[in-house]
Amino acid sequence: MKRGGPLLLVLPSVVYLLVMFVYPFAYGVFLSLHPAKGAAGASLANYLAFFGDPWQLRTIAVTASIAVPNTIVTVVLALTVAYAMRRGIWAERTITALLVLPIALGTVLVAEGINGFYGPKGWLNQGLQAAGFGDPPRLTHNYTGVMIALFVQHFPFCFLMLLGYISGIDPALEASARVLGARPWVVFRRVMWPLIAPGAAIAFALVFVMNFGVFPSAVLVGQPAGATRTIAIAAYQQAFEHYDMSMASAIAVVMGLCQLLGLAIVVGLRGRLAGTGVATVGAGKR
């Protein structure tokens, strides 16, 4: 191949992403600085309007109140189960294939299923009533509904990601620690956790970012006009109900910045979580 050869083959995909991904992003930032009405020239009017309006500003708190606890619960549980299954389990392929189901089916179907199964007339409430729990709590079309939907969606995602990561760690490291007399907890804390931490941090960051962009679940199993009016809903409403693309872009930028902030916090914490500077050899699947 000649010198320019490789670049020529990469070029179409790079150009495509520059035009369809980078350009729209830049255009969105530009648009957000040029409000639909008002004077020409760049201004922060959209951002000031967003942060000045309690109804809009609240969406950040609402989204965070869903995304942060959900991410913590999802990652901790996924990590626990993945760690317990690190050396394979009975019917592993069946179980993992089953877990892929909600990822493949997508948010909309899962939301509809949750509305049925967890709904006031669903099997779960029927079961609880039959068991004598009386009037069960409302689980759909509120905050709880969104939490369930996100968990069902993201737990398998996080679990499969961490399972791939943890099972790629050299078992000899753990075996040597055991031979030298370390108890299970010490093996985890001093040997495995430093190796797992980078993967757990990435998983945490990914789940947080996905949770923060929640849209279909917040609408379909939540209460999109109130308790679960997330920032993605606010951006969507500006764009497709008020046709104010400039303000919508501003909200999308704020959403992106919040996600970036979450990532920065995770990266910042990662150093501390990993504890002492134990070597991170052999981690991860190649």
Binding site: Y16, V110, L160, A239
Partner: protein
């Protein structure tokens, strides 16, 4: 002793989660077959008429045509643009390789709602938004990198010496590609194609933001049906959900013949 309690707890959690999944899915199926169903464990009478109703009322013939067009076109384009890129990434280094890899990674990492709104804004500005072409172009943004990253390890496995051997024996560049690289890369192309196909059919956000009246994919149509709950009987919405589910499951079963479930999500720590 403590180890056993611990393992039991993990087992019970996995069992509970699995039961909850089975419940979610089968509730939809049972509901789609119910004549009427109201606060009883199972409906009193079953019927299949909601499928015909759903097919008619939601114009599913049109919706499925759009879905198939979008999914097949996105898959073809993702493989067409993605394979050369994966080939070069697997074979050689070049000056801006890390920047290019980052460019491929970002659409997979950034949630679709975040970049979907500026993307939709730009595409509507050029009057591509709201058309099937718009849905295809938008879906290609995350699917192209997906295809590239799935193809990458497959291309890496093809020994470069096979290509050299073919060249030494007088094969032209096109012949090497056509007779050596392509046949060896076929499993990769099949895997990547299936994954892109199932992901495109199930992809909601971008299709939702870009679709107009005549360009809704099945999952978008399902969203509007669930969103407008009460407009039509819930059983017909669930019938549509089952039709969607069967289509996705068929593709998933096909895909799982080639890939491990863990490959359906990001590969951490790898390339």
């Amino acid at each position: 002793m403590r180890g056993r309690v611990w393992r039991l707890a993990v087992f019970l959690f996995v069992l509970g989660f699995t039961l909850n999944l089975v419940g979610i899915v089968s509730h939809v199926v049972v509901s789609s077959l119910a004549k009427r169903w109201f606060a009883t464990p199972l409906p009193g009478a079953f019927t299949t008429e909601w499928y015909a109703y759903s097919w008619r009322e939601f114009q599913l013939a049109d919706v499925l045509t759009v879905t198939a067009t979008v999914a097949v076109t996105v898959t073809a384009l993702a493989l067409l643009l993605g394979f050369p890129a994966a080939y070069v990434l697997a074979r050689r280094g070049f000056p801006a390789k890390n920047a290019v890899l980052l460019l491929y990674f970002l659409p997979l990492l950034i949630p679709q709602m975040t970049y979907g709104i500026p993307l939709a804004t730009s595409l509507y500005r050029y009057r591509i938004g709201g058309t099937i072409a718009g849905v295809i172009l938008a879906n290609l943004v995350p699917m192209l990198p997906l295809a590239i990253f799935v193809l990458l390890p497959f291309v890496e496995q093809i020994s470069e010496s096979l290509e050299w051997a073919a060249r030494v024996h007088g094969a032209g560049r096109w012949q090497v590609f056509r007779r050596v690289v392509l046949p060896l890369a076929l499993p990769g192309l099949l895997t990547a194609g299936l994954l892109v196909l199932v992901n495109t059919v199930a992809n909601f956000e971008l299709s939702f933001l870009l679709s107009g009246a005549g360009s809704q994919t099945l999952v978008v149509a399902l969203y509007y049906a669930v969103f407008a709950a009460g407009m039509r009987p819930i059983y017909s919405v669930d019938a549509m959900a089952v039709i969607y589910m069967v289509i996705v499951l068929l593709m998933l079963v096909a895909a799982l013949r080639f890939v491990r479930p863990t490959q359906m999500v990001f590969r951490l720590g790898g390339k």
